[in-house]
């Protein structure tokens, strides 16, 4: 047997989705082929997905080896820590009331905290720092306004690439603020708070 790690993980994802989908789909009426209920097509889709997942799994047992880059201890540790911290932060935020619980802020806070924890590890930085900056954008946009949000998110995302210089980042922030103001506010006139609201 030559295990193909990439295929096996892919199979796990496909099968996982299919099983969860089939289980959730038990809530919906199937109907008959002639009069299909809301559950008919999803059942068909997830059943085929399950079958394909199993085929990928079987193929993956033999067509390897195709290993993925091995994760180091800290990489695994911080990934788990990030998932735990993110979930915890999200749950706490949804309970405390006020701004953290309003709207989708608890979801955003959970994502942001989780991604930031994982981004401590250098090799995870491109993935999770960009994701964190993106989540932060969602958190800050409405209270802090577009200009401040652009500045903060660009600065945060700049840490994902080591070749940045402080001067270059400052220039980039200025450039993007002017460009976004011109394109989105002046030209397209989208409904976004521009300046911080107190």
């Amino acid at each position: 047997m030559k295990l193909n790690t990439k295929d096996l993980i892919s199979a796990a994802i496909l099968i996982g989705c299919a099983v969860i989908g089939l289980w959730l789909n038990t809530d919906h009426t199937m109907g008959t082929a002639r009069r299909m209920g809301p559950g008919y097509m999803p059942f068909l889709g997830f059943a085929i997905l399950l079958a394909l997942g199993v085929i990928v799994l079987i193929i993956g047992l033999f067509n390897g080896p195709d290993p993925i880059a091995r994760w180091t201890g800290p990489e695994i540790g911080f990934l788990l820590a990030g998932a735990a911290a993110g979930t915890a932060a999200g749950l706490v935020a949804s309970k405390v009331g006020g701004w953290p619980s309003a709207g989708w802020n608890s979801l955003g806070l959970g994502m942001f905290v989780g991604c930031m924890v994982v981004a401590v590890v250098k090799s995870w930085r491109p993935l999770f720092l960009i994701s964190a900056a993106f989540a932060l954008f969602g958190l800050l946009l409405e209270p802090a306004g577009l200009m401040a949000t652009i500045a903060i998110c660009v600065i945060l995302s700049a840490f994902a690439d080591e070749t940045h210089t402080p001067k270059g980042v400052a220039g980039l922030v200025l450039f993007l603020c002017v460009l976004c103001y011109a394109v989105f506010i002046y030209e397209l006139d989208i409904r976004v708070p521009v300046w911080p609201q107190f």
Binding site: W104, F134, G138, D161
Partner: protein, 501 residues
């Protein structure tokens, strides 16, 4: 002539000031991202989708189309001058084009790339105009069962032609279809898989998926790779071709246009496949085949004509049948649906402005690109001096603002983060994102046609085999699938796609 009158109408639409302006913007942006490696047309179009919503549907589609074929022009510039394909579709141009540049014939290579593209673009424009109404007539006789089978065929072929494992690609297609089931069931109004989240009752955000899987995931993957950009070797030289070069290019351009037009129409086809197909053909049949590897002009002329022809003919299935042939066309479907237009055979009659205006704008756009590209080549090459560390935060911010402005809801922003991480994971596992996007777009339509077909046939699935059109489609899909299981064919495809990028 009906066709001429219609084209005249189209030019009337395309030549209004606003449409001309947006066509130009699309072409300029397309050229820019074509030149820049690390951002492709799929990411750019999903990035700019929200910006176009304020515009009428015709203007929006004209601009988005300009980005797609503009990218084919721009991609060849860096491929020839720097051995650096800006797009997947110009990978094969580097093979002969860069060799020509090393011999000091960069100018000639750039000229033939632009002129060949323009010629192919003009032919493809006529082809779209002529075949549109014709195919529409055919499409109007399609029943729901035929539609279902046609979409099924499109999905299978898009998976078969995707890179890597066919089973995994089909898996991604089905995953996309399943993802399309999220939201309110059209016929009963029941909420499916929404977990009680009101934002999901309209389905998972199309723009969020596209931006996450193609925009954000792309940024992250590029950041992980070290930046490697060679400096330009030598000068561009004279843009004039010698008579000999010109004479040799003509048949190559003609062949490239033919191959490209055909491969563009094919579901799952598109610019990348076309340029590769044309390169293979030139290497086998052109008179200059013994020169291949040392800078044969046929190897530039053919593929460049082909990718431009294909990027335009791939609009044919979309405009006539409402079926996207590749990921870019899936984005166009998304754009149309958000604008409130259901793509399908009725579009030619119901939206003549859009249909004929788009076709006319393609020709206008090709003319603009000729001007944008040839005399201003130096400007575009300078664009490469922009380091990626300045590009990625800009892409990120544009994504974020765009996705928020869709519904002024931060939920869409968080959705995009999830799809960004998922897209990164998929590319690490070699699960293709493009088939998934096509599946997602076609899924809800397939469900509707399946339901209707089964209702009409009183629950008898044989209807799919009894109707000749439907049976033919299913047979082709079956043959395509079986062919991929044969080891020889599969090896051929793998090596072809590996070389083609």
């Amino acid at each position: 002539m009906d066709l001429l009158a219609n084209l005249g109408h189209g030019f009337g639409v395309a030549l209004t000031l606003n449409n001309l302006l947006f066509c130009l913007i699309g072409c300029v942006i397309g050229t820019a991202i074509g030149v820049l490696p690390g951002i492709g047309p799929v990411a750019t179009i999903s990035l700019l989708l929200p910006i176009t919503f304020g515009q009428p549907a015709t203007t929006a589609i004209i601009m988005l189309a300009g980005i797609y074929y503009g990218a084919q022009y721009g991609g060849s510039t860096t491929a020839i001058l720097l051995n650096l394909p800006g797009e997947v579709s110009s990978v094969v141009t580097t093979l002969e084009g860069y060799k020509m540049a090393r011999r000091g014939r960069a100018g000639a290579a750039l000229s033939i790339a632009a002129l060949g593209s323009f010629f192919a673009g003009s032919v493809a424009t006529i082809l779209v105009a002529a075949s549109g109404p014709l195919l529409t007539q055919v499409a109007l006789s399609f029943g729901p069962a035929d539609y279902f089978s046609l979409m099924f065929l499109g999905l299978i072929i898009s998976a078969v032609l995707a890179q890597g494992s066919v089973v995994k690609s089909i898996g991604m297609v089905v995953f996309g279809v399943s993802l399309g089931m999220v939201g309110t069931d059209v016929q009963t109004g029941q909420q499916r898989f929404t977990f009680g989240i009101p934002e999901l009752s309209d389905g998972v955000g199309f723009v969020s998926i596209a931006m996450g899987m193609f925009g954000i995931a792309e940024i992250i993957l590029n950041l992980e790779r070290p930046e490697a950009r060679s400096v330009m070797s030598g000068k561009v030289g004279s843009l004039m071709m010698t008579r000999e070069e010109f004479r040799r290019s003509i048949p190559a351009v003609l062949r490239g246009t033919t191959v490209g037009s055909l491969l563009g129409i094919l579901p799952g086809g598109g610019a990348a496949l076309a340029s590769f197909g044309s390169y293979m053909m030139e290497r086998k049949v052109s008179k200059g085949r013994h020169e291949f590897g040392t800078g044969a002009i046929e190897g530039v002329a053919g593929p460049e004509a082909a990718n431009n022809a294909a990027s335009q003919t791939s609009f044919i299935p979309l405009l006539t049948l409402g079926i996207p042939a590749n990921a870019v066309m899936a984005l166009m479907v998304g754009a149309l649906i958000i604008q409130g237009i259901q793509p399908g055979p009725r579009m030619v009659e119901a939206q003549p402005d859009l249909f004929w205006g788009l076709i006319a704008s393609m020709w206008v756009g090709n003319l603009m690109l000729l001007v944008i590209n040839l005399p201003m080549i130096g400007v575009w090459v300078k664009l490469l001096a922009v380091p990626y560390r300045h590009m990625y935060p800009s892409i990120m911010i544009f994504c974020a603002i765009g996705v928020y402005s869709l519904q002024n809801n931060v939920f869409d922003v968080y959705q995009t983060v999830v799809f960004g991480i998922f897209g990164y994971l998929c590319s690490k596992l070699r699960l293709e994102a493009a088939p998934m996007l096509i599946g997602f777009v076609l899924g809800p339509m397939m469900e509707e046609h399946l339901r209707r077909a089964m209702l009409l046939s009183r629950g008898d699935p044989m209807v799919f085999l009894e109707r000749p059109i439907s049976a033919t489609m299913l047979a082709i899909a079956f043959i395509a699938l079986v062919a991929m299981l044969l080891p020889n064919v599969r090896k051929g495809k793998d090596s072809a796609l590996a070389e083609g990028g």
